[in-house]
């Protein structure tokens, strides 16, 4: 029995009317925008906007799963900044003789908000388009299909590893391992099979490449027949590129004016 990734069914969500490149530009703008000011309030506002985007697209469950991976990074940030931020002065709490300072923790909160904003807007891109849609659109706007193929091969690796890992977990369960309850157990169960997991994923990549070549993918006569249409794609591209340039330029201006 084959399973399927919960791929997006055509156009049921407003977010699917926005083209992939616009979404990528949005990620770039949020990235530049979040770096603009170091104030906590500003970062929380940007975070708020990203969260709003995720909720509006109804992908909050999937986005939260993506956040799980960043929790470790955020914990590290909180730890380091809380203890060692150079402007630390007021102690907020003491754990095992380690002093966490208010200034550092607030700074960590600001950094974490930036990180989460970027993750949320990236999840907007990832969970409202499928890899094949991205590939088709990129080819449509003129990216050479060989480059497209390389890009999607890379994009397939993570979901493929995920899928293979789930298969392995079912196999482990069938062969006697209890379903793991916490992260520590899960990690311990995965380590011995990491190498075969990666080997298998890479082999699948090679097999797909063979199949594509067999079916004439490298033929210079390749011509797409399906043209995807989106809502005001060109306008959105121009607008967002302009925005990104403004944000980038503003930041550079701020840096330069401090130096002078």
């Amino acid at each position: 029995m084959s399973d399927s990734e919960s791929s997006v069914v055509l156009r049921q969500n407003w977010a699917q009317n926005i083209d992939p490149v616009t979404k990528l530009l949005l990620v770039a703008c949020v990235l530049l925008g979040s770096l603009l000011y170091k104030s906590l309030t500003y970062s929380l506002v940007v975070l708020g906007l990203s969260v709003f985007l995720v909720l509006a697209a109804r992908i909050q469950a999937k986005a939260l799963r993506l956040i799980e991976f960043s929790l470790f990074l955020i914990a590290t940030i909180v730890l380091i900044q809380g203890l060692l931020y150079p402007f630390n002065r007021t102690v907020l709490l003491t754990v095992f003789h380690l002093r966490f300072y208010k200034e550092g923790l607030l700074y960590a909160l600001m950094l974490s908000s930036r990180l989460l904003s970027i993750i949320f807007v990236t999840s907007f891109f990832i969970f409202t388009t499928t890899i094949t849609e991205n590939a088709t659109y990129l080819e449509q706007i003129g990216v050479p299909y060989h480059t497209v193929y390389v890009l999607i091969s890379v994009c397939y690796i993570l979901p493929q590893i995920n899928k293979n890992m789930r298969h392995i977990q079912v196999a482990q369960r069938a062969r006697g391992v209890n379903p793991q309850s916490n992260i520590a157990e899960q990690v311990r169960a995965i380590i011995p099979i990491l190498v075969p997991l990666i080997t298998k994923t890479l082999m699948q990549s090679v097999e797909r490449s063979t199949a594509l070549q067999l079916r004439g993918f490298s033929n210079p006569n390749r011509q797409q027949t399906e043209k995807l249409t989106y809502y005001r794609a060109e306008l959105a591209h121009r607008g967002l590129i302009l925005l990104a340039a403004l944000l980038g330029g503003w930041k550079i201006w701020m840096i330069l004016s401090k130096l002078v």
């Binding site: 029995m1 084959s2 399927s4 094949t132 999607i152 004439g216």
Partner: protein, 278 residues
């Protein structure tokens, strides 16, 4: 018969990079094109490697050390890949390996090779529909290919290989995931294909005998026997390598021989040997 109508292999050997031994050794055979050839043998005998060689996957897509010369009728599998791959249809052992990963729907998946050839949307649509009807995938055209059952996926893989009207078809164990009804439908369809050169590997000896024009038997990378099914099974026992078809076992134990003394290996021959032919 001139060479363009022959399948010929001359001292062909194949070794994978880093392997100690040849996967195929000194294969030499000459036989007419436009027939159905069954490839039999134990696992590891080189059947898949032979399929890859005949289709050009080795050495064009998969690197391997190849020696000797070979051609399939008018096709030279080592020629310009972009030109010849449309004439060769290949069905992988695992149908999921055949998916492009670039198609949302079964229809797009089937159209993939034709899009690569730059054909028009209407031509592609017509061809896809015709094949979907033939392989009972019409209801699945808008489905995601990854959600098909094993048997459906195998039919899809075959349809994808056929979409460019290839002259040469290579099937590596095409019915392993199908149930018996599906399997007999496949071999019945296969038997009706004319003017094509077809290679089929399978463990289903009975179906092969009933369908193919000749058999190649491989063992440990060498071609140990070739000829019509009847000739192969009427030779002294190869029962360690491949089991004989039920027809042969029945006829030889009951003493039902054909006029020339051979025992039958196909249903038609059995009817003849027992005097039931129509």
């Amino acid at each position: 018969m001139d060479d363009s109508q022959q399948i010929s292999l001359n001292k062909v050997s194949v070794a994978y990079p880093g392997a100690e031994r040849n996967q195929l050794s000194d294969l030499t055979i000459k036989t007419p094109a436009h027939q159905i050839i069954g490839i039999l043998g134990p696992s590891n005998s080189g059947k898949t490697t032979l399929c890859r060689l005949l289709s050009g996957i080795i050495p064009q897509v998969m690197r391997a050390d190849v020696q000797g010369e070979y051609r399939l009728g008018t096709l030279n599998p080592t020629a310009n890949w972009a030109e010849i791959n449309r004439f060769i249809g290949y069905v992988f052992q695992n149908p999921a390996d055949q998916l492009s990963g670039m198609a949302e729907t079964v229809a797009t998946e089937m159209a993939f090779s034709l899009v690569n050839l730059g054909q028009s949307a209407s031509a592609i649509d017509a061809k896809v529909r015709a094949l979907a009807r033939q392989f009972q995938l019409i209801d699945q055209l808008n489905q995601n290919p990854a959600t098909l059952s094993g048997g459906q996926m195998q039919r899809l893989a075959i349809a994808c290989a056929l979409v460019t009207d290839p002259e040469v078809l290579i099937f590596d164990d095409p019915t392993s995931q199908m149930d018996p009804v599906g399997t007999s439908q496949f071999f019945a369809w296969l038997k009706n294909q004319h003017d094509k050169t077809i290679f089929v590997t399978s463990t289903n000896v009975d179906a092969l005998c009933n369908t193919v024009d000749s058999l190649w038997v491989l063992n440990a990378g060498q071609l140990v026997a070739s000829g019509t099914p009847r000739k192969i099974f009427n030779q002294p026992a190869k029962s360690e390598l491949i089991p004989a078809p039920v027809v042969f076992n029945l006829a030889s134990q009951m003493g039902w021989a054909l006029p020339d003394g051979d025992y039958p290996v196909t249903q038609a021959e059995l009817m003849e040997a027992t005097g039931h032919e129509r």
